[in-house]
Symmetry: C2
Subunit: 307 residues, 2 copies
């Protein structure tokens, strides 16, 4: 069965994470012509399987003659990914400089992977978020202030004049998943929500971050002794962990400049709510839009370098 | 195949946790005549399976005529256990008062379960540790001071005049297992040990508990960027989590009275080391010995009540 497409991409943007892959057919002027995705994430692929997984999504968009360039970001460049892309050391612009070529057999594509960022002290790394930050800087040239990218491993960065000055990672999302799904708390945590419990969790964690690990088991005890609802337990757990994260990143968001939250949907809103409770302002910037914009910035910087 | 035994128990002591069951044949004078165990923990049994699991270990010790009494503590009395035993509210002696009869079909045994302890504010519960505390109080009558029972869910209690005044639970052991085995850190954490890294983790967490969740991901980054050894990563993770626990329980151990650590082996020693780094003295009390002693206290209190 042959695939038919009216779309011919000028180039192709790819965000390839651990659990899924998303691709956009880009027009010459920067417009998105088409979008496709796959659940073939980095975590489920061996190196030699990446090219096929990519082509299964983007083949219909390739130029009939010549080479279509593909710019990819994210865990595709990890040691366990397609090929290991370098890390650039902060402080530096979020993207720019050399990209890493991924090995391909099909002559109709050339795939290059955006470098991640590294920080030596304290040790930290990111892959993928630098591209979203680049997208943010593209629409706010020269921005100075804090950005927050909520997720499994939430990233906080300080930007200065559009460069990433330093950053830190907090495993809030992964801790929430482990505790709510795999710890003894799974018996007490449901699928629903309770705003008041979330806010109380944030406030308690900010006031006494050293007590949070003790307060976790109280969720179980309260559900045994006091009929704490599963909805309230889930919201309070989320609030305690986000509040603990805010306690540890206070120096980043406490300086009076609104935090640019780069995210989506409910999680981004939770961070905005938690920051508001803490007295900090924030804006929510759409992560998907910024990913495409950041990949465009990487593609353009490549063209400029080549000139 | 019939089992032959020279041992006839005056009564039988049982510590029945989530993952295993241990039983002791007790002599009239309080001596241990025999010991047996099974991996049929509460977590793997339906209520109607407990009696058979018990008899498979203790049958050889039953009196040839009449009823042998069995006193059990631990998760056997949880809602998911053999039968739900009550909780006694602190402040109260660690054991005493009514025990809960478990339903049995074999007329040669009578099984009674020690009550757990509950605390309403902040909400907390324990099942099993109260019996170890009772064993400690039996050898230190009227003790006032802090006790610590390290484990999956570490318990801290303040005793006053031999009674449990209040207590708190910190999920340090479960967090360590989840992070080292199921999170992204599993790629960086090995099986070995490094004392210096453990001590640095304790000190860092005590100095800035709010930064611990941020420091967790640094273990991954350091192993990627700086070749942090897997042994050092494991020890530092343990140190960070135990240090965070000590930061949150400071009021319990900072009063000048040595902490009675009720535990075994390496974990108990780690807590003693961490407390020493924090300037607190401690003693290590053998948990197994105290479990038997505590069950004996429960058995004796029953006899006294019956008089």
């Amino acid at each position: 069965m042959s695939q038919v497409s009216d779309i011919v991409a000028d180039w192709i943007a790819v965000d390839w994470g651990t659990s899924n892959m998303r691709a956009w057919a880009m027009g010459a002027g920067g417009a998105v012509l088409a979008h496709g995705e796959s659940n073939a994430g980095m975590g489920s692929l061996r190196p030699e399987q990446f090219e096929g997984a990519l082509l299964s999504v983007v083949a219909p968009w390739l130029k009939p003659d010549g080479v279509t360039e593909v710019i990819a970001c994210g865990m595709v460049g990890a040691r366990q990914g397609w090929t290991e892309a370098s890390y650039r050391a902060v402080p530096c612009p979020p993207v720019g400089g050399t990209l890493t070529d991924a090995p391909t057999r099909n002559p109709r594509i050339r795939v290059r992977i955006v470098a991640g960022l590294r920080q030596d002290t304290p040790a930290d790394v990111m892959r993928g978020e630098e591209t979203q930050i680049a997208g943010f800087v593209a629409q706010r040239p020269g921005f100075s202030g804090p950005v927050c990218l909520p997720g499994t491993h939430t990233k906080w960065a300080d930007l200065r004049g559009g460069e990433v000055e330093d950053f830190s990672t907090v495993m809030t999302g992964e801790l929430f998943a482990l505790l709510s799904e795999r710890s003894v708390l799974r018996h007490s945590v449901g699928d629903g929500w309770d705003k008041v419990s979330f806010e109380a969790g944030v406030a308690d964690a900010l006031a006494a971050p050293e007590l949070v690990t003790g307060r976790l088991f109280a969720l179980r005890a309260q559900s045994l002794l006091a009929d704490l609802s599963a909805d309230a337990a889930r919201a309070r757990l989320s609030g305690l962990l986000i509040g603990l994260e805010l306690a540890g990143t206070r120096a980043r968001w406490d300086g009076g400049i609104p935090v640019a939250i780069i995210g989506n949907g409910k999680l981004a809103q939770l961070y905005a709510d938690a920051l508001a409770l803490s007295g900090a302002q924030s804006t929510i910037e759409d992560a998907d839009t910024l990913t495409v914009r950041g990949l465009s910035a990487a593609y353009l910087s490549l063209k400029e370098t080549a000139v």
